[in-house]
Amino acid sequence: MKEVVLELGSGGKLMRDFISRTIVPAFSNPYLKNLSDASHLPSGIAFTTDSYVVDPIFFPGGDIGTLAVNGTVNDLVVSGARPRFLSLSLILEEGLPWDVLEKILNSIKRAARAALVTIATGDTKVVRRGQADKIYINTSGIGRIIARPRVDRIRPGDAVIVTGTLGEHSLAVMLARSEFRLESRVRSDCAPLGFLLPFWKKGALWMRDITRGGLATVLSELAEKIPHAMVIEEAKIPLSRPVRSAAEILGIDPLFLACEGRAVLIVAGDRAERVLKDLRITKQGKQAGLIGRVDDQIGRQGELLLRTVTGGLRLLEPLTSELLPRIC
């Protein structure tokens, strides 16, 4: 008997195959086919949905509520839409302390206000104790399309720009689980990416929020879609001290760590310096960095390469499965 296994949800090959071989054919239509962060619907509307099951529900820098707003908002922003309305579905486990629920609802309220979106509809379900883990949230989002990502216009020489340091969200959640028994002041980077909207008009050809699978996964998925290679430079990737140290101690590669308030942009080569300058003026983009280029001299079509600190080249591939630290 075939059953759902945990690995199906791990973001690896099993999941990609499931989506492309089972989900897409089942509902076959032009909107679903692109598998982008949000679908562009008729009349200039972008539409997206996401479910949130983070454990623990509170972590330094945010909670499941802020995540549920920002995650969906960011999917709209990076697909070229100004976020407008969200739906909010709560699945609650019997016995969830009331003050926990209130705290999360407050976070949702504050995050929605900060991201300039309105919670326009919602739903609440309660299941028996043990049938869910405390609280799950689904949000769907609608936005107005202001730009269309142009993967087809990406050319050699175009710049790869990240909007800030990588990996704080993953690390904050991992440490909040206290499985590593490490202490750190790292806080999740969870934040809305609305400040990126003007950059669609300043030369951005493509954007993605750096969520599950991290920068390496997000960029290698793009690399597969363009007829060039991409080369990014290890030494130029912005990392905060806590992430740098944790990566060293735990053997985790920050290139595969998730963020919830960072994005990577492909910007037309001649406008890159200007975009970088403008990004660095924004509050959330202070640590933005130009980390690489689309390239047709090095590597082959579809490859994402990392130039390491020692000067060697490494092929980066999408995350295989959830991160597993080495064991000795």
């Binding site: 060293e248 390469l305 390491t308 490494r314 092929l315 597993l324 000795c328």
Partner: protein
């Protein structure tokens, strides 16, 4: 300058490589050095030392130092059956153990029996704490490790007894590093001119357990740390020993390793564990190469507690040649499945799963060797790599 930076300083790296080139000049063939430890394999590939050393006349061969890899399939399958066939179990193990493919699938793709679950832990202690906090569950810690990890596994069994945590047991896959080295040398399947001994294992056992290699087999070796320049420094030492014709066990990781090892860890191992003959993937049964809990701790030995029958005999997936990779007679790229049917996305053997597995590391970091991006290697370098890449 921090210690870390010094051991990664590119100018020092360049100087050491030059010295290595000089010392290998005049040898009729590449000097073949086996790096025993998977973490060394990682550093060697990650920092591109593999190619740089080849250009300097040194060929690095990966050895058996990946605990996930050398744990034979019958133990992986026993763990899997505990999860799928027994109720109310928590099988706790390290992350990469869960993805090792067997004829019965992997722990990740297995559907646990009702009320049982798989829990990825980061230390044996975490599994013990889990047992203490969930007395209604049977917690089995499936721990694979060498002398680095073994003391912490031993400690959990000891604590479980002292604190009467009766719902905790250990499914052990505990391996000693020196015996397989003897087995590889006695088999004589591959030429090895020197050994790069593991740093962390040596921090526990010291340098003495390797001395038989210098004495009986006349092969030089050095204990090395895990930064690029640590490894090059140890390589220089090995080459000096070869040139002088005086093999020994040199300690190039003095900032961590004491020649006598760690007496407290050794005493704990002695107290809790006893040596047994053990079956290794690819290497067969090696006398006195594994450890198990002493009889006084039998109630915490999952094999005894649950009456498991773990016998050599289960087969690897068709075509998988991890066994030969672990013996150092096949390099990952020589395996017909490598990076084709077998990749980290769909591993056919443990060496493609573990972060310390030679196949995984070669797949992940071996870009220039794979020759996928032919343009990545400048012309003049490409020639040099071909010339020395015997």
């Amino acid at each position: 300058m921090s210690l870390k930076k010094e051991f990664r300083d590119q100018r020092i790296t360049a100087g050491l490589l030059k010295s290595i080139s000089r010392k290998t000049r005049g040898f009729p063939h590449a000097v073949r050095i086996m790096e025993v430890c998977g973490t060394h394999t990682m550093t060697i590939h990650r920092y591109g030392l593999k190619g740089l050393l080849e250009e300097s006349g040194v060929e690095m061969i990966s050895g058996p130092g990946c605990p996930v890899c050398i744990t034979p399939n019958e133990i992986h399958e026993a763990a899997l059956l505990m999860l799928t066939d027994r109720e109310n179990m928590v099988l706790a193990t390290f992350g990469d153990m869960t993805r090792v493919p067997t004829g019965k699938g992997s722990l990740q793709t297995a559907v646990p029996a009702r009320s049982s679950l798989l829990k990825i832990v980061y230390s044996p202690e975490e599994a013990l704490d889990l047992a203490a906090s969930r007395p209604e569950k049977e917690v089995v810690f499936f721990g694979a490790g060498f002398e680095t990890t073994i003391p912490s596994i031993a400690l959990t069994a000891k604590r479980a007894k002292e604190e009467e945590i009766r719902n905790f047991s250990v499914l052990s896959a505990m391996w000693l590093i020196p015996p397989p080295l003897r087995a590889i040398l006695e088999a004589g399947e591959t030429a090895i001119h020197g050994f790069l001994y593991p740093g962390h294992v040596s921090a526990v056992i010291g340098s003495k357990p390797y001395e038989f290699i210098a004495r009986e087999f006349r092969i030089p070796g050095a204990i090395a740390g895990f930064e690029p320049n640590d490894i090059l420094l140890a390589t220089v030492s090995i080459l000096d020993q070869i040139r002088a014709g005086i093999p020994r066990v040199d300690l190039e990781y003095k900032r961590v390793v004491d020649p006598a090892g760690n007496p407290r860890a050794l005493a704990l191992m002695e107290e809790v564990l006893e040596i047994k003959d053990a079956h290794w993937r690819g290497l067969g049964i090696i006398p006195r190469s594994g450890l198990k809990l002493r009889e006084s701790l039998a109630p915490f030995d999952a094999e005894i507690k649950f009456g498991l029958s773990i016998k050599p005999g289960s087969t690897d997936l068709p075509g998988c040649r991890c066994g030969e990779v672990l013996r150092g007679i096949l390099s990952p790229a020589q395996c017909p499945l490598f990076s084709k049917k077998c990749s980290p996305d769909s591993p056919q053997g443990p060496c493609m799963v573990s972060f310390e597995g030679a196949c995984y590391i070669t797949h992940k970091f071996g870009y220039s060797q794979k020759k996928t991006g032919t343009r990545a290697v400048p012309e003049e370098n490409a020639g040099r790599i071909r010339k020395t890449g015997r």
